[in-house]
Amino acid sequence: MNDKIRFKLNGKQTELDVDGDRKLLWVLRTDLGLTGTKYGCGMSLCGACTVVINKEAVRSCMLPVRNVQGKEVLTIEGLAQGDKLHPLQQAFIDKGAVQCGYCTPGMLMNAYAMLLKNPKLTRDQIIAGMENNLCRCGSHKRIVQAIESVAKR
């Protein structure tokens, strides 16, 4: 039995006719072709699948898609304004906070949601808030620097 799910995706009104039990991650990655949101663990342990829903960072790998009914979902594809990168995206490039890039969308979305709540994050708050986003390449120092550089503005 399918559900009609209406929500805002990256600013656009979107309607899906899908099984509401399906996970948001896979609906994004398959039906909607938005592959920027990544699978890493399937158990909300790594943060690669992080999206922002109603201004909160959420792990999409365990979230039934029916839960986004009537909500605003932002994925990595919606972070830039056209060609203009979000300051966080630019900071990740400028500070060299990207290596393989696979964890990067989740890192950015998590950091974006943190900054929405508190634009003046301290370094300690950044480290604590990013704790459950995993990066295997070891870009941690530069990721913190990148977020810090935006928080300081």
């Binding site: 399918n2 899906l16 006719d17 899908v18 399906r22 996970k23 896979w26 990655r29 398959t30 039906d31 909607l32 072709g33 592959t35 920027g36 990544k38 699978y39 890493g40 663990c41 399937g42 158990m43 342990l45 790594c46 690669a48 990595i76 594809e77 972070l79 830039a80 990168l85 995206q89 630019q90 990740f92 490039i93 400028d94 060299g96 990207v98 290596q99 393989c100 890039g101 696979y102 964890c103 990067t104 969308p105 950015l108 480290i127 604590a128 990013m130 704790e131 459950n132 986003n133 995993l134 990066c135 295997r136 390449c137 070891g138 870009s139 941690h140 120092k141 530069r142 990721i143 913190v144």
Partner: protein, 724 residues
């Protein structure tokens, strides 16, 4: 089926060039063929002490590089420059560094060059991206080729402008008479419509360091924008309208054999395709979640042969199975050394299995068009994959195209490509594009682990406090970074099996290369042993190292590390928690100093200084990024990462029981590149991870006087050692 609107695959960097475009490209312009064995510039010396050869690979994969053409550099008729390399981008920014090296010699901006990596239809053969060789080996050859291309263009311009070469200037792809800037010609005008395959003999020299304007600068990585916008495509992101996601039946343990299988429940799920072939049971569906449901609906019975091994007794299990040793680093006579020794030290160092745990799991998308199989494959080895997949399909190599898109981390774990073999098999059977992307549990199960390894060292100090004996016996780790860095008159390394081969099979899992394979335990063992000897003499471990080595590059990085750290000499344990270690890997020398705090056995690394001599650093910020990454990743192998298992059954299944370094673990990191323009670029991706374990173990000893001989240094192990 739901109202799916699958997107077709587009926008991938790897797909920019269709085959026909490439042929069109070849229609005109200068094509330089070059080999990775091209002689390096005569003006730059080979690495001192002879570490310039690729280390730790034996004969494997070098593929007779002397004759194999290894890359093409293309200057098109439109003036656009394209560089083709069989290397892949797994995050270490080799793409950017290689573009800088080519751009430097051609005298064009680095970001004007289109880099095409890891596509077997477009790029020349390459053995794979590992061993910190992209810049060190391929880059050196690329520079030579670019220099040759530039020289040919200057010859052509000289002819066309009727001006001697020494009166020409070249800037940004335009060559003009120095005295009359209107008398000019562009690369595009020179190459247009011409088909030239000149070769110059003798080869022109590459630029001198003093002439560099691009090498040695740190432009941001050229793939940054694609990666921060979610546009970068990895193998798991490839989409086709009729794509099927495949999930394969997996055994509960390595070595298990399938007794019987019942797929009837899976078959009842609408749209599910079941494939049962020799050695394979797979379910496929356009929705990966339904495919996964179908997999869990399969009933299967296995015979699991019980092997009574786990992480606690694995070393006793492995040691009697060790193959005969290979001897190296022979110097003097161990018996003489032992006789000369006033004190002999004998210790055994251990490290269990370790996972790569790349953030992207092994993924592949295979698509058959007519008689040609194309595979978007998350692999470090596109060409070996092409060959193996062609062999499995019984078709010629050229009928298989491997495209390595962006790779979500490799570290050696993506040299094997089991997912690719599965995807092509299923694509051939179903006639549809098929994606195989491992779950995290499959990823741990099929990973080629860093093998459990043992290092036994017997060393001796003579009455003057000099090292007179070093008998280094390495089991299952190979000899990488086991080169003796100290002046030891009686030295021998005996290597009993390595990480590369497990034939006949003795490990209960797949094993393979893990970032600087074998080097991490080799240096952990040697540098711990050095500290133990220094402590016995009540000598500062830095002073002891300097006293026992005449290696000038090593002395320099050690002294600089001490200076940067603000290190002052003291015999260990000083209670300060300072630990020193150094290593040689991939031609680069690294000295590291860690500062730790140990609280109830738990180690907190507070500060970490690394000083690296890597010859010329092509992109110093990129090099520092690699050092920092090595330190963070090194915290994992040093402190937490250990595979848990019972026989062939993996107990480690996801990140909840395999602990990767996190933000809160981050020490204050200082990465320093030593200026060494005398030496061509050396390895950058791995060397700095090599001494991390030893630096931390030595710091733990310095903090609390407890020596731990097994990595990772868990609280349990530290407390057990403290209570001995």
């Amino acid at each position: 089926m739901q109202n799916k609107k699958p997107k077709t695959f587009e926008n991938s960097r790897a797909d920019i060039f269709e085959r026909r475009d490439f042929i069109k490209l070849l229609g005109g312009g200068v094509i330089i063929l070059f080999s990775a064995a091209s002689p390096l510039s005569a003006q730059q010396k080979p690495p001192a002490g002879g570490p310039g050869r690729p280390q730790g690979f034996g004969g494997f994969g070098m593929g007779g590089g002397a004759t194999d053409l290894n890359a093409y550099l293309k200057i098109g008729e439109d003036g656009k420059i394209t560089c083709f390399s069989g290397k892949i981008e797994q995050g270490q920014a080799n793409t950017t560094a290689l573009a800088q090296m080519a751009a430097e010699e051609l005298g064009v901006p680095h970001d004007s060059i289109t880099m095409i990596l890891g596509d077997t239809d477009l790029c020349p053969w390459d053995m794979g991206t590992f061993g910190s060789m992209s810049v060190r080996i391929f880059g050196a050859a690329l520079r030579s080729a670019a220099a040759e291309a530039k020289a040919i263009l200057m010859d052509m311009a000289s002819e066309q402008l009727k001006t001697p070469k020494d009166q020409l200037t070249c800037e940004n792809g335009v060559i003009f008479a120095t005295a009359d800037q209107k008398n000019k010609v562009t690369f595009a005008q020179l190459t247009k419509g011409q088909k030239i395959t000149r070769k110059l003999d003798p080869k022109p020299a590459v630029k001198r360091v003093s002439e560099f304007t691009i090498i040695g600068k740190s432009p941001v990585r050229i793939d940054g924008r694609a990666k921060v916008t979610g546009q970068a495509k990895y193998a798991c992101d490839i989409r086709f309208p009729d794509l099927l996601y495949a999930k394969l039946l997996r055994p509960p343990a390595h070595g298990a054999t399938l007794k019987n299988v019942d797929t009837s429940e899976a078959e009842k799920i609408p749209g599910v395709l079941v494939v049962r072939e020799e050695g394979m049971v797979a379910v496929l569906h356009p929705d990966p979640e339904i495919a996964e449901k179908a997999r869990t609906a399969i009933k299967a019975e296995y015979d699991v042969s019980p092997i009574n091994i786990d992480e606690s007794n694995i070393f006793d299990y492995l040691l009697p199975k060790a193959p005969k040793p290979q001897l190296s680093e022979r110097k003097g006579d161990l018996a003489v050394g032992e006789k000369a020794a006033a004190t002999v030290f004998e210790h055994t160092y251990l490290n269990g299995y370790g996972a790569h745990a790349t953030m992207e799991t092994h993924s592949a998308c295979a698509k058959m068009d007519g008689d040609k199989m194309t595979v978007w494959l998350g692999t470090q080895t596109p060409f070996p994959a092409q060959q193996e997949i062609a062999r499995q399909l019984k078709i010629p190599n050229e009928k298989v195209r491997i495209i390595a898109p962006y790779i979500g981390g490799g570290f050696g774990g993506k040299s094997p490509f089991p997912q690719g073999a599965e995807a092509v098999r299923l694509a051939k059977i179903t006639g549809k594009p098929v994606q195989v992307s491992f779950t995290r549990e499959e990823e741990f199960f099929y990973d080629s682990f860093r093998p459990a390894a043992v290092v036994k060292i017997k060393s001796g100090l003579d009455s003057a406090g000099n090292i007179c004996l070093f008998d280094n016996q390495i089991y299952f780790a190979g000899t990488r970074s086991a080169e003796q860095l100290y002046d030891v008159p009686n030295n021998l390394t005996s290597s009993y099996g390595g990480w590369m081969m497990d034939v006949p099979k003795i490990h209960p899992f797949n094993i393979g290369a893990w970032r600087a394979p074998g080097a991490n335990i080799n240096v952990f063992a040697r540098e711990s042993q050095i500290d133990i000897m220094a402590a016995k003499l009540k000598m500062d471990p830095l002073e002891f190292r300097l006293k026992n080595t005449s290696n000038a590059r090593l002395r320099r990085v050690l002294e600089l590390a001490a200076k940067s750290f603000g290190y002052t000499g003291a015999a260990g344990p000083s209670g300060r928690g300072f630990g020193i270690a150094c290593g040689l890997d991939a031609g680069s020398l690294v000295a590291e100093i860690a500062e730790v705090k140990v609280d109830k056995g738990r180690v907190r690394v507070k500060r970490f200084v690394a000083v690296q001599d890597m010859g010329i650093s092509v992109n110093p910020e990129g090099s520092k990024m690699q050092i920092e990454g090595c330190i963070m990743m090194g915290l994992g192998y040093a402190l937490s990462e250990d595979i848990h298992f019972r026989g062939g059954q993996l107990l480690t299944k996801n990140f909840h029981n395999y602990s990767l370094p996190r933000f809160s673990w981050m020490p204050e990191i200082e990465a320093i590149i030593v200026k060494n323009d005398e030496l061509d670029p050396q390895g950058g991706g791995e060397p700095a991870i090599v001494p991390v374990g030893a630096a931390i173990a030595n710091a733990v000893f310095d903090a609390i006087g407890v020596r731990v001989f097994q990595m990772p240094l868990t609280a349990e192990r530290i407390n057990a050692a403290a209570n001995k």
